[in-house]
Symmetry: D2
């Protein structure tokens, strides 16, 4: 995920945008085929010093101002007219937003893949422990008997639903941006927009969305919910792993979770990663939501605040899912301790309805997964 | 909306919950029909001192602890066994969550109704000003020619899409809560759950959701996006209404927008309400997102943090939509100033594509509205 | 605290503002003494229908627009000139901000009083358990031996320092607002400002602060830190109170902490209140921080977003301190369980430095308390 | 500032910590002088592959786990006993927190230096335009006459006061961390703590603060207030720079603020940087505040959430101050347009009190600056 939002991937996405724009403009007879070919040739093969460009982009305030002159110079070596036609009609934000959405699409695949692996792992835990008696706890106090499978079903359902919400947001947000300088498509056309969207595998927006950022905000909110649902799983496992409770544990991972001062310790490092993400994500989402009231056709500050926070949300959420997948796939469960804690609390042993609820949840999950062989990943496919 | 989330509506929702629970339990043969009748009779007609109950609930930490003894006493006057069977198997949180969802459902209707009125008003502005030349501004600077209708289309689309997201979240979140003491349905049954859901017009959850709050968090996030999209409209109108810009103005409303010290002023009070909501909403949503990692079968603090913030989000969002509906329905547009500002900026006058984009947006909006006569409100119907 | 920020207290503060303004204007020879007397007489004794005024203020967007005409009418019954001179030169925001600061000052006293009672109670726990062996836990795992007194010292220090920060913010923020219509004191004077500040027990600002809200934001942030530090205490006690840990418990409070479905339960209701506050407070503070970039001499939305969030922050923080004071003052400590958990973890029993650290902390705390008999409350005294 | 929080500076701070720890332990007779010398020699000169270490630290979850084995190996080449005594008694968090505070201290110097340069530049604007008539605007509408110098005074005061708050927070938060494995100083001593604090130029804490994070939260909140106050300045200048208002402008900076599509544009890029920071900062601060209720002697997730957010807050705040310093130092002011806008609004021309207020503000600012030659920077000096 770090690579997906890295400088190199951003540069590649930017070059993809320019080549695609030229091809679409040629198909729409706005520029000559030869110019599109010359632009495409350089964009496909161009190699730039990524670190230098990133620094220049930071100074200029946008990647376009740093990249375009260099790109233009290279194209001009082959075809001076093509160089003049590069990026014709497009704005810096067209490039930046489309590149971000290409990165977000790649990131969404990773999120859904990790997420599905985690919910599948949870489904296996739910099934194998459907009848394992355990103590249900409310307000951190013993409450009633349940089964460990029902607790796993709750974790599964929370993360599964959060991923469905995220898939919905991806469908709404993963749009091509082609606005031109001020959201009017001036110097461009709807045909160019539709062609580019088809080629890049992004949806064509009803209107340019330079200052209408509900899609980005929706994505951010959905990622924060995924982080929160994953954090709920982490919270519970870290509580169950307490020495005095001793019901479930992270597997030992070499080189992780050790202590520089206490070698006897076995730290819940996976849970820590997920809980840390769940603490950070809400504020990052709030920062993007706070930027929504952007000025006129392109705002001042609100737009610029989005990309770094969105990238961090993708990274945190993916990191949390990955960490907890590793935890759940090799989760160690102490059914003896579960039974003992349940018995010690004196709240009885009736688990019939809990078993029934596990079945209800797994049926629901499998039905939804069956409806589409790859239900989540499909959602963000082109 | 204040009434929807007021103490009286909460009490009424709580009584509805208890009566419905008893009826469903009787239908499922868990309690006698006579008991359900006795409970229902008192719940339907009961009158309580709302303020007193609200105070007691605040002390007890939950409405159930304050309400149930009183309710039990009244039922016992008619039928001692029915009094003992009141609330059987249910938990305080079942009552609180279901009541909150009944309130949220009523609130969602109001949001969608105001929202639709606002987007319809914006569609009228977009249509009537589809060809009104105006200056597009980026980074608060003159950019290119556009039409005022295209700007109105952007506002329309932003709010419309935010309302669609909210409708999706309502479908996901407006669930009955029936968990029993620890999320296991102990003393209850899936039949009771399904019957109650059908009667109350809420969806039946796959599993109880006492500590799995992605639905509530999703609602909160969606409300914040609606507030943000409405704030974007308000931001723009307040900028257009500047004395030096003079392009569009709020209508004068008697008793509002005046100044206690400067009688010449005409303040954008509607925009102020919407901008204030857009500033407050992200933090309120973040507070609910931050509470997601709740402990075990019922958490400590995370759940309790939700209801007041969610109610405030409903109130702020509704207030913002309402304020801006009033503004847009009687928006004063100075097309002469628009033309003059455009001319003064020297950026040309080509608005052909802007006109085309207005058409594209209105077609899209009307197609979506036609698909269901009342597209948004339907979404949250039972 | 609810009363401090209630409609009635707000009305009283508003009347105090108007009377004080008139007296200061008379002293500065800007209005006749007789007018000040007539205004003061009505303000001191006036009784208004609070609920009606609150509703009208909500419609008008500010209390001033609702209150002033009624007040003017009552004064005019005695003295027509005085009625015309009421509120002369002042703005609605002068009234609203000063009233908010009078409320905040009263609220700050309550915060500091509860806070000091809580830290004093923690100091007693720290002292009496300075040598009580206990298990230190890191990442929710057993770590090393410590004493319960050191843990109490940590709680004490965190809350004490948070209260010192809050005291600093009160000194910076509890200012009179007297700006006139546009922050220029037009129609007023620095003499009026200084006189009013002295009479009302608020500091005189260097400049009016109508759109410069760092003080309010600082207050909000400091309250969130107090809530967070109190939430840390609550988190720990709720973890220690787990059945399997069994080291420390909230006292039983009649009518609180019970369960409507499980009579055997003993819920940590005080901790729940504090944890809930700690979850809500950061987002509320963020909402106020987000409003800082306010437009020109008086902003649109940012200012209006502050007062309800600030009032909620005062209420949540006070409620958290109060709940935890009750918990700590009658905290039940199971030193046998502490010793047993420590022994079971096999981490040794060396507590010498922990005892030393308790002494270091208590010395520090007492020295700071001694420096001023009532150190915190003093900070916000007039 | 990027360098201050970069991987290389972090590594250097970590080495400084280890060398200082060893020296303090030798002085306290806990380890031989020769071991301290051997450790110090390697730490002072050690060169590591920064990128590799950063990656390993990310995998291990902490820098200590990645760095210490390598460091130990290098020391062992000279002195096997010294290698065993490296980091003796200290925890990973001691290293991480102290390194963060050393970085924060360096960052605080940069913040105060930029901040002071900005407030000095604003003082010059305030003074030179103390009598420049301008229009005061409230709710984005014309209100009353003022002077541009008074507006500059407001900006100055807001940022100056925010920097004073930040200085207070630095005094409270820039602490050595030396806790040992579980906050008990086990294997260490108060003498070591006091010696290290003195050597590293950080304050010695009353108690270790591994799970008591009010200081970090206070820093974060104060940085968000500085960002917000700087954002207020940026908001106003961007509004004044509107083509239709035309009162004040950013200077042109080569290679910045251009448009890839509209060469006529002159974008307020500095304001954009500051506004973007002001939008992002509140959520980042909320994320740190949300992590305060950390578990027991060292929490799970809350602590880990702090460092990246704090670093980003330092970078954003510093970037905002720097951008606006550049803007203000070469601010272009159109006094003719100011006079024309004022005249067109018909609100009169009385600016006497505004001039007086500028004097009051500048006197206050200079008095505070005089009290200590370098008032802000001093505050965070060792």
């Amino acid at each position: 995920m770090l690579a997906v939002f890295g400088d190199e991937a951003l540069l590649q996405a930017a070059l993809t945008f320019e080549a695609s724009l030229a091809r679409a403009q040629a198909a729409a007879k706005l520029i000559p085929e030869s110019a599109a070919a010359a632009i495409g040739a350089v964009c496909d093969s161009a190699r730039f010093e990524v670190a230098t460009l990133a620094e220049e982009a930071a100074h200029a305030g946008t990647l376009a101002l740093a990249l375009l002159p260099r790109l233009r110079a290279r194209i001009a070596e082959q075809d001076a007219e093509a160089a003049r036609l590069l990026h014709r009609g497009a704005s810096s934000q067209d490039l930046a937003d489309t590149a971000l959405m290409l990165q977000a699409k790649a990131g969404a695949h990773l999120i859904q893949r990790e997420g599905r692996a985690l919910t599948d792992a949870l489904a296996r835990v739910a099934e194998s422990h459907a009848r394992t008696p355990a103590l249900a706890r409310t307000l951190l106090q013993p409450a009633l008997p349940t089964t460990f499978g029902l607790q796993a079903s709750q974790w599964l359902l929370g993360i599964h639903q959060a991923l469905q919400r995220f898939a919905w947001e991806c469908r709404a947000a993963l749009l091509l941006q082609l606005a031109g300088a001020a959201g009017t498509l001036q110097g461009l056309s709807l045909e160019v927009l539709e062609r580019m969207a088809a080629e890049l595998g992004l949806a064509a927006p009803v209107l340019p969305w330079t200052a209408r950022r509900d899609g980005v905000a929706g994505l951010a909110g959905a990622l924060a919910v995924v982080s929160g649902a994953t954090g709920k799983l982490a919270r519970d496992i870290s509580l169950l792993a307490q020495h005095e409770v001793h019901e479930a544990f992270e597997p030992r991972i070499s080189g992780r979770g050790g202590s520089s001062s206490m070698s006897h310790k076995r730290n819940p490092t996976g849970c820590q990663i997920a809980l840390s993400a769940a603490i950070r994500a809400p504020g990052l989402a709030a920062g993007i939501l706070a930027g929504l009231p952007q000025e006129h056709q392109r705002g001042l500050g609100g737009w610029q605040a989005e990309a770094p926070a969105l990238a961090t949300l993708f990274e945190l959420t993916h990191g949390a899912l990955q960490a907890m997948r590793v935890v759940v796939e090799a989760l160690e469960v102490d059914t003896v301790a579960m039974a003992a804690n349940l018995a010690a609390s004196g709240v009885g042993d009736d688990i019939g309805l809990s078993i029934q609820l596990v079945g209800r949840c797994l049926d629901h999950y499998r039905r939804q997964c069956k409806d589409s062989a790859e239900p989540h990943i499909h959602a963000v496919h082109d």
